[in-house]
Amino acid sequence: MRPLLAAALLLAGCSRPPQAPEGKAVYSDKAARFSLHGPADWRVMEEQGGAHRVTFFGPPPAVESIAVYRHDKGGPGGDAQAYLAGQSLGGKSFARKLEVKGKPARELVVEKKAPVMHGKGGELLRQRTVVLEDEKGFWALVHTAPASQPSSAVFEDSLQSFSARD
């Protein structure tokens, strides 16, 4: 997990970084392939391998998370359809089409139980996945939170601020 603020801004390589709302920071990955607003005080895990780019983890005890993944065409995870179908496993799911900043996107909301690990877990989670396709593959932004918790606005802001370098 890395500090979000200053380092992220420097790494973004922007001469004038976009402004983030109160309580948020602009996050950009090391290679400046994408940026988005992330809650400034959440824990961040970066580039854990595979398609993973970044995950923000909220405060305990009921940790919610916002994750960004990048799947290039021909990668082991398959295409966007396959990815969404995989996401829908193990729970009730609803899919719909939407627009993110004027571009077509696909959304999947799944409610499923968290796996039981170390005697903990098993709670019902709501997972909202938004897939943004481009010519070379797709980005997946995934918000996971306890289903019992009202939907928070943090993900919406991250989604709307998401910007990928072409």
């Binding site: 603020l5 005080d41 391998g49 995870g77 496993l89 968290a114 005697g119």
Partner: protein
């Protein structure tokens, strides 16, 4: 009232204690359930035993508070000089003139209380905090079920006073972990901004994880005007905590810690068992584990990592004890097992496995065992004497054991855990090591399935396994979420580095002019440099292993698809085969998915009026169609919607027959979900709302 030396010496390990007692570790997922699965025949439930703190105490609090006050000169139970040091550590003061003992708040202590505190702890009528119970066991004490005393190998019972002081030390250790975690969290924020709510929530979580904050710090955080003020308060508390622990570190220990680490340090000197029975069972279990894992690729690969220079496999000890006083205690109460690197031991939780041992026994023996095995020592003896029961236990907990052995391997291969034990790195548990342990246990599970898929068709690990194969990124994030939610000491390599840098910044403020200080400072700096190197190496190693797994993950997906599909089809469950195919995404050819879809549709047609069974299959088909971006044939779609209507009607009938159905909330939820997929959704939703509102 002798002070147990073993316990006292053990206190010094608390400097690195919470890290050494590496929380972590296995998910009883499955094992808790598998091994405690309902037994065929008449079930018997394991008895709790007499030592769960629910008996009335011999003396009430009011009796203990009754005068006379303690008088040193005339006291029957005189406080010895050695004991006085402990009392003083707890804030008590003995007035040399009057011979009276005053409490930290100033009141005089009664003679009855002094005697009571000096007597052995009694688990029949007293309850210990979970972390104290676990820590004392980690120091070599075990519960003696017949007397409800906690005794060491010499049969000396631990006193209440010793436990009180132990709790105090653990508290100081957890304070350091808490402040270093808060320090790292605050240091990344804009100092001019208000303290975010996350920080106060984090404080609550640390407290719920039984980690305490230094006196007054919570109030300071709540009242801080901005991050700068909060950071200043945390920095001050961090410095005070580091000064305390640094003061506990003798110069010779600092000198040792500044020397290059020896792999396995911290595991070498403490390989003692509580008694011969524990040693014998550990030996037998290790043989059983070796035998079981030898027949599995990742299993034998893991075993080979424990070979010594002569090629002999040296596994960690395996012991069984009550990890908490009661099964529902917080912390590790429900965990199946954990690995303790300071003891190089896998501790299996008595509470998690005993029911399974009883269930696995012949039916005629279960009643007797349910009483007899309430004593953990008798469970040890039973398993030692019954190779079949032991084998059943090892087979049912193999994934747990694999997971914990992976942690044991991590502790042996990396100098980072050695440096944590030596105080050269902050005590924290990198979640990356959990990622590795979980994914490796599923590599082991994968090999089991590939060897005999039929056998594990309904294994409770199957859904997690498919989840891991379907989307490893999500699986890994789920592990992180669970650890951050539940275990206060959870961190990650980059954050541990931040903590180390914060520590270094504080140590740099320690004066170098005082006699001896320059040497301590130089040694500390050298030690921390070794800590930095070990941490960097562990992180690099972890990244390398993650990369290697990515390649293996792709292979596992390709292998698993055809095998699972074949076996599910053979079992007459084409929809499960299709689900496995869907989960493995692009790993399957389109023709295979076509075939499975047709088989599922055929099965739906054959189910006639069983709408509950039908919708389960329709849901799988929907996912398969989603996967391929296919629209459903209108005729099929009509049938599907009619089936969803029928199943909602079924739910409504259930609620009509019993408006107070014990599972009403779940029935309503499912009915609503299915109603949305039906043709007459508005009408059905209205009926569901009415049924929901009907009480009787």
């Amino acid at each position: 009232m002798p002070l147990s030396r073993a316990l006292y010496l053990g206190l010094f390990f608390l400097w690195a204690g919470p890290a050494a007692a590496h929380p972590g570790h296995k998910a009883p997922e499955g094992h808790f359930h598998v091994f405690a699965a309902p037994a065929p025949g008449r079930p018997e439930t394991v008895e709790m035993g007499a030592c769960v703190g629910d008996k009335a105490p011999a003396k009430s609090a009011a009796e203990l508070a009754k005068p006379p006050v303690y008088e040193h000169k005339t006291a029957a139970d005189k406080i010895t000089d050695e004991e006085l040091k402990i009392w003083e550590q707890l804030g008590y003061k003995l007035d040399k003139k009057t011979g009276q003992l005053s409490r930290p708040q100033g009141q005089l202590e009664t003679a009855a209380m002094v005697t009571w505190l000096g007597d052995p702890f009694n688990a029949a009528s007293e309850k210990l905090p979970a972390f104290v119970w676990m820590g004392v066991h980690g120091q070599g004490y075990r519960l003696e079920e017949a007397t409800c005393r906690l005794v060491n190998a010499k049969k000396e019972a631990v006193t209440r006073l010793e436990l009180k002081v132990y709790e105090w030390w653990v508290g100081r250790s957890s304070e350091l972990m808490a402040v270093q975690s808060l320090h790292a969290a605050l240091a990344k924020l804009d100092p001019s901004k208000p303290v975010p709510p996350d920080i106060t929530q984090r404080v609550r979580q640390l407290q719920s994880a039984q980690m305490q904050l230094p006196d007054g710090l919570e109030k300071q955080l709540l009242e801080a005007k901005n991050v700068k003020d909060a950071l200043a308060a945390v920095d001050k508390a961090h410095e005070a905590s580091l000064r305390f622990w640094d003061g506990m570190m003798p110069l010779n220990e600092l000198q040792k810690a500044a020397q290059p680490a020896v792999l396995g340090y911290g595991q070498a000197g403490q390989k003692t068992y509580f008694d011969a029975a524990e040693a014998r069972l550990s030996h037998a279990l290790r043989q059983d584990v070796l035998k079981l894992f030898a027949g599995n690729g990742p299993g034998s690969e893991l075993m080979s990592r424990f070979k010594d220079k002569k090629g002999v496999v040296q596994l960690p000890r395996i012991t069984i004890w009550k990890v908490s006083q009661r099964p529902d205690d917080p912390g590790y109460g429900r965990s199946a097992a954990f690995y303790d690197s300071s003891q190089d031991a896998i501790v299996v939780n008595y509470w998690a496995i005993t029911q399974g041992v009883i269930n696995a026994a012949p039916e005629t023996e279960r009643k007797r065992l349910s009483k007899e095995l309430a004593d953990p020592k008798k469970l040890t003896a039973y398993l030692e004497a019954n190779p079949a029961a032991r084998q059943a236990f090892v087979e049912a907990t193999d994934l747990t054991l694999y997971h914990e052995l992976t942690h044991a391997w991590q502790a042996r291969r990396s100098k980072a855990s050695v440096e944590q034990t030596r105080g050269n790195l902050p005590a924290a548990n990198p979640v990356e090591e959990e990622h590795e342990a979980f994914r490796d246990e599923y590599r082991y599970f994968h090999a089991k399935i590939m060897a005999n898929p039929q056998k594990y068709l309904n294994d409770p690990h199957m859904s997690s396994y498919l989840g891991m194969l379907s989307n490893y990124d999500e699986f890994r994030d789920g592990i992180t979420r669970m650890y951050l939610s539940n275990f206060g000491g959870t961190s990650d390599f980059p954050t541990i580095k931040t903590m180390q840098d914060n520590r270094r910044g504080i140590f740099d403020r320690f004066p170098g002019w005082a006699p001896g200080s320059w040497l301590r400072n130089a040694l500390r700096k050298q030690g921390m440099k070794l800590g930095d190197q070990a941490l960097a190496q562990a992180e690099t190693d972890s990244k390398k292993r993650t990369k290697e797994f990515e390649v293996e993950w792709g292979k596992m997906r390709k292998e698993a698809g055809p095998r699972l599909i074949a076996v599910y089809e053979k079992a007459g469950e084409p929809h499960k085969a299709l689900l496995a195919g869907v989960g493995l995404g692009g790993a399957l050819p389109a023709s295979e998915l076509d075939r499975l879809e047709r088989a599922t549709l055929k099965q739906i047609a054959g189910l006639k009026d069983d709408s509950f069974q039908k919708v389960q299959r329709w849901e799988v088909l929907e996912k398969a169609y989603d996967l391929r971006g296919k629209d459903m044939d209108p005729k099929l779609d009509k049938t599907r919607r009619a089936d969803y209507s029928a199943v909602v009607r079924g739910y409504l009938n259930m609620l009509h027959d019993n408006p107070a159905h014990p599972e009403k909330a779940g029935i309503v939820e499912w009915a609503k979900t299915y109603a949305l997929k039906s043709d007459d959704k508005d009408k059905l939703l209205e009926e569901i709302r009415k049924a929901e509102a009907t009480k009787r």
